[in-house]
Amino acid sequence: MSANARDIFKAGLIGDNPIYRQVLGICSALAVTNLLANTLFMCFGVVFTTALSNLTVSLLRRHIPKRVRMIAQVLIIASYVMIVDTLIRALNPDIHRFIGPYVGLIITNCIIMGRAEAFAGQNPPWPSLLDGLACGLGYSLVLIVIALVREPMGFGTLLGYPLPARELWWHSWTIMVMPPGAFFMLAIVTWIARSRFDAQKETPA
């Protein structure tokens, strides 16, 4: 991996992580993370869409008329989201029944539009594809961490499989299944990540 590619991935995963650093894509992060399987499908959708929409916008960046560039980007993003939505509906209809409304909302996810506008519109295809992948994976990383806590604590399962000997030690934390559990987990993950990774020290005014 070249230094440039490494920097792009480092920024997407840690330095400029879309969730805990830029606070984008929070709606779906809160909604789908009470089950790991739902989270993985959502992450697949976002990684797929971010990567391919970045690549496409970059390939077309010299041809897209400036005055309609955002309309063109929305059209490209919406097409990829519809493809993801159809694939999930075909491959796993049970999960689609739960996350279907949020898959549709990927179209308005600020991460994807933001990367297309801020990065892919000004950069060549290969770095743009990597940037899309990195941002999608950065989003996925935080969602998976949250789901890895919420599902075991709320349901006593992981990917639907019961935790070992759970009848002996596990007690349901119903709040982890509900939206407040997502808010608490997101705040805790953001707190830990920022205190661990933020190199930039806040200076007193």
Partner: protein, 221 residues
């Protein structure tokens, strides 16, 4: 070439629409058989749940087998031009009938299956096939806490057509034809009440003695 010229802008957007529209259509076409099979599996699951049929496994064939053993089906032309499926349970002591129903919810069409006693005096169970209500609010019509209220509900056939089943507080809490609405989903509750009452009226108008029930093996495509 001037990228801001109106002709270029229109041509570019038209080309983009054609290319990406074709891509989406191709994926949809390639998965059409899987989507149809999934829809049929969902339909069978909901019918089995509505009739509380014993199902030996979770595979599509298990649901088909359970339905073939316990149910007969007839179809009837609905007054609105649609085809209503009517199921009759043949393996139970007390005869029960299941009807597909549909109508407008708050956002979009709600479809479901209602199982009633053969004299239509008792609603035994309802389950939903499809809806587009708001997740976390109107979509809670699928939760057991809401659905369980319909078990044993007795539509008041003497009441006005729009109040045979009541969802909400506009009736004594003990009324036999009333269930609680969903907090935060007033419009979904009101829409569901309206569509259920309209559909119950249409079901009552059916001449059930004229229906020709057939084994599901005969009616399978």
């Amino acid at each position: 070439m001037n990228r801001n010229a109106p002709g270029y802008v229109l041509g570019f957007m038209a080309a983009l629409c054609v290319v990406f529209g074709s891509g989406v259509a191709t994926v949809h076409y390639a998965t059409r058989d899987m989507l149809a099979a999934n829809e049929q599996l969902n339909h069978n699951r909901v019918v089995c749940a509505a009739f509380d049929l014993p199902v030996s496994g979770r595979a599509a064939a298990d649901y088909v087998r359970a339905m073939e053993q316990a149910l007969e089906m007839a179809t009837v032309q609905d007054g609105r031009g649609g085809i209503r499926q009517v199921y009759r349970r043949v393996d139970a002591d007390a005869p029960v009938l299941g009807f597909t129903f549909w109508g407008m919810g708050f956002w979009d069409r709600i479809e479901g299956v209602a199982v009633l006693s053969a004299d239509l005096q008792t609603l035994i169970r309802i389950r939903f096939l499809d809806h587009k209500e708001t997740p976390g609010l109107g979509a809670r019509i699928e939760e057991a806490a809401f659905l369980d209220q319909f078990e044993g509900l007795r539509p008041d056939w003497t009441a006005s057509p729009e109040r045979r089943v009541i969802i909400g507080s506009a009736a004594p809490a003990q009324a036999g034809n009333r269930v609680d609405s969903i907090t935060g989903a007033t419009q979904t509750s009101a829409s569901l009440m309206q569509l259920l009452n309209e559909e119950l009226e249409r079901i009552r108008e059916l001449d059930l003695s004229e229906l020709e029930f057939k084994s599901l093996k005969e009616t399978a495509p």
